[in-house]
Amino acid sequence: MVHTVNDTPVCAEQRPPLTRADLKADKPTWCPGCGDFSVLAIYQKLLEKKNLPQESIVTLSGIGCSSRFPYFVNTHSVHFIHGRILPFATGLSLSRPDLHPIVFIGDGDAYSIGGNHFDHCARKNVRLMVVVMDNQVYGLTKKQTSPTSPVGFKSKTDPWGSKVTPINPTKKLISSGATFVARTAASNPNHMLEMMEAALDHDGFSVVECFSECVQFNPGSFDAAVPRKGGAYPPVPEDHDVTNEEAAYALTREPFPGHFGIYFKVDRPTLNETEGGLAESPTSDTALKDVRQQLEASLRQLT
C-alpha cells in the first residue's frame, strides 16, 4: 500500500499528533553540559510543533560530535561521510520533493572539509535546511583547531595559538548566494526555535549558524553571548532589512558576539523548481509504458 506524503500532513486528522516521546531515540552520548543537547531538544520541539508526518522527516549529518545527531532522534536518518552530506542531501531533496531533509553538521563539515559544497548549495538554492552547530573546535577528535577557531586559540594542532583568520560563516554564506542566513546560540532555546522554524518555512537553501558550546575542549567560548554569564545577546536590529545584502554584510562585520537573528532572506527560484522534471515523483513505475514509447522513438532515430 503506497502512502503518499507531501507538504501538508495528509493523515494529520486520523493520526495522533507527533510528540517528543515519538521522536526519542538512542540516549545521546555527548559530554554532560554539551551545547548539542539543547539543539537536539529544540529540534524535537520544532518537529512536534510542526507536526510533520514522521516518515517524511529525514535527519542527515556528516562527521563530528554534533553529527551523532541522527541516532538521537527517531526519524529516517543518515550518518554520511565527512564533508559530503550537503551534496547527499541535494540528491535526496531533488529526487524526493515529498520529504523534509534537515541537515545537522559541525563547523568542520560545513566550513572546512565540505566548504566547497556549502558554497555550491547556496548558489544553487537547493531546497534544504541546514543547522551548523559551531563550537569553534574539533571536539570528537579531542581538540584541534577548527576553521572558526579565533586567532590565538590554543589546540593540539596549534599549541602556540592559531595564527589564522577564522571563517566568517554568515558573510561567506551570503556571498555564496544563500537565500536564508540566520544566527543563533544553543544557550538561547527560544531564539533557536524561532530561527529553526523560520529556516524550515523558507523555500530554498536555509542555514542557521548556531553557537553550541563544547564544554570539554572549548569551555566558555561563547560566554560573551550568554547574558547570565555576564554577556550580551544583541538581536538583529528591528529596522534591519533582511533583503538588503549590504545591510546583511554590515551585520556580519560586527565584533564578537555580533547580532543574533535573521541576517538575510530573499526569494529566488530553487534548484528543485528549475530541475522541473523531478516534480513528478520518479518513484513511480506507472510510466514504464511511456518510457518504452519515448526510448523506442529515440532509438529508432538511430536505425
Binding site: 503506497v2 502512502h3 506524503v5 515519538d22 531515540a25 508526518p53 514522521q54 516518515e55 517524511s56 529525514v58 541522527p70 541516532y71 527517531n74 526519524t75 529516517h76 536518518s77 543518515v78 550518518h79 554520511f80 561521510i81 564533508g83 559530503r84 552530506i85 550537503l86 551534496p87 547527499f88 542531501a89 541535494t90 540528491g91 535526496l92 531533488l94 529526487s95 524526493r96 520529504l99 566547497n116 559544497h117 555550491h120 530541475e275 522541473g276 522534471g277 523531478l278 515523483s281 520518479p282 518513484t283 513511480s284 513505475d285 510510466a287 514504464l288 511511456d290 518510457v291 518504452r292 519515448q294 526510448l295 523506442e296 529515440s298 532509438l299 529508432r300 532515430q301 538511430l302 536505425t303
Partner: protein, 620 residues
Amino acid sequence: MTSFREIPPGTAYAGPETLNDAVIRIAGNSQDGIQSVGAMLARLAGRSEMDVMTYMTIPATISGGPSIFQVHMGSGRVLSAGDAADILVAFYQHSYDDHLESLRDGGVLLYDSTNVEPDLDVLRERRITPVPVPMTSLTIEILGGTGKKKGKNIFLLGLLAQAFRLDMEKIRRLLGEVFGHKDESVLRNALLALEGGYAYSIGDMQSFFTFEEPRHEAGEAGVTKVTMTGNQALAYGAVAAGIRFGAAYPITPWTEVMEQLRYDLPRYGGSFIQTEDELAGIAAALGAAYGGVPSMTGSSGPGLALKSEAISFAVMAEIPLLIVDVQRGGPSTGLPTNVEQSDLNLALHAGHGDAPRVVMAAANVEDCFHLVIEAVRIAHEYSVPVIFLSDQAIATRIEAFPLPDLTSVLQFPGAKPETVDSYKPYPLDRITRHMPPGTRITDGKYPNVTGLEHDEFGHPSANPKVHMAMTAKRRAKLEALAETLPRPAVQGPKAGELLLVGWGSTMGVIREAVDRAAASGVEYSAIHLRHLNPLPPGLEELFRRFERVLVVEMNDRDANGCGQLARVLRAQYALPHIGGITKTDGLSFRIGELLARIEETVGGHAVFVGPAVSHANPNH
C-alpha cells in the same frame, strides 16, 4: 590530371575482388567533418544489414589538427575496427604521408588531387590503385566558395556511395534526418554535394570491390539495427535500466554520457545534475539512491579515485548505485584521449576497509546498453555499488547492433515508500533491501542508514561479533551473486594448449584473432569476462584444462608478465600457468599485432598474422 583509367597497366590491382568486409580510413583535419561522414557511413551500413564498427582518433587539440575516422563494414560479422585499410581517403598531403602505411598492399588510394601528390612509384610497388579526385575544387564548383570547408565530406560520401554501390535513397533520407532541422539551404547544399560525388566518374573502382550478399547468423536476417557510440549506448542503457537520477562532473571520455543524460532524463521524469566536483557527484547520487530512486554517477579514472571514500560508504550502508568508469590512459592526467584498461585495480579496490563491490565491464557498444541494465538490476537486488567499466575505445567507436526489444529489457528497480509494521535496514538473515524514507513504520522505530558499523537497526556498534557478522553479510551477498552468474562461453576447443582471456573492449580483436588462427590451422580458445567481481563460477576448472592461459589486456605487466586481471586470476586460483599479454601504447590491439604477441609468448606456431602492416601507431 591523371584519370583512373590512365594509370599504366600493371599498376592497378587486378580486380574485381569480392569482399565480405572492407576497411575505409578517412584522413583529414578535424574541421573537415570526417567524423560525421564516418558516422553516416556507419549508419548506412547498419541500415543495409551490414555489420559495422568504427574507430576514430580525437585530435589532442580542441579544433584543427589531423584527424582520422576508420569504418569497418562487412556482410559478415564485424568484430573489430579492422587492421589495414582497403581504401584510404587522403584529404591533404600530410594525410597521405601519415597514413599510406596503414593502407594494405593492393588497396585503393582515393585522394584529393587538389591537395595531394602521391609518389606513384611507391604505389606501383605496393600495387596500390591511385584514384585522384579534385575534391576541393569540385566541391567549390558545386557549392560556391563556402564549399571549400563544408561539403567536401558529403561529396566524398557520394564518391563512396558510387564505389560501394550504396543505396542512394537511404543516404538522401539520412541526410534529411541529419540536416532536416537546420536551415533549408544546408540540406540542399548537402544533397548537391552528394549527387556531385555520386556522379563523378571514378571509373572501374566499382568493379574492384563488390560486397558479398550479407551472410546472417541464425535468426539475424532482417533484424533492424541501431548504430551508435558506446557512450550513447550507455546513456540509453541507463534509461532502460531505470536510472532516473544522476550526478557527476565532466571528464574525458565520460562526459558525453552525462551530457546526453542531462538532456534526456527530464523526459523520463528524472534529472542528471552537474556537480561542483567528483565527490559531490557520487554523494548526490547516493542521496537520491537512498531516496529509492535508481541513481548513477560516472567518471574516468582520476574521478573514480576521488569517489573512493564514498564507494566504501555505499558498501557499508548498502546503497545500490551505478558507478561508470570510462577508462582512459593513466596514471594521473595520463592520456585523456587514449584507451587503456588500467583502472581495474582501482575499480576492484578503490575505497578503505573491506569493501566488496560488484565490478562489470562492457565488451562492446551493445554491452553498454544491455549490460548496464544488468548492472543496475544487480545493484538493487544486492544493495551494493556496481562499478561499470567502459573505455575510450568503446566510448567513441560506432557499432551497429539489433534494435533492443524494450518490452523485454525495460526495468524500474526503484523502491516506493509504503507503510510497514516494523523494519530493520540491515537484517542478518537476508540481503538488505532498503525501505526508502517516506516509509511509515507503525511500531515507531525509524532506521539509521550509516557508515559506522551498525547493528540490524543501523545503530552504531563496535561489538566484535557485530562487526564480524556484518562484514560477513556484506561479503556473502557477493558470493550469492557469483553463483547466479553465467559461465562464460568458450570460443574454440574446450581444452587444449592455449586459452585467451579477455575483458572489456578487446573482445572483437581476440575473437577475430582466434578465427584467423583457426583458418591457418592453429587452434586457440578464448573466453571473455564481463563479470570481474565477483568472478563467474567454473573458471578454475576451465583454466586447468589448458596448458597455458594468457590474459590479454591494455595495461602494464608485473614481473610475471601479468597485467591487472591476470594478477587477480593468478592470485584467486593460485595457478602459475596464468600469464598475460599486455601493452601500454594507448591504442587498441590489432589482430595481427595480437597474433604476433601470442606467437612471441607461446612460440612455435606459424600463424598467419595477416597482411603486412606496420605495428607502429595506427594513427600514422
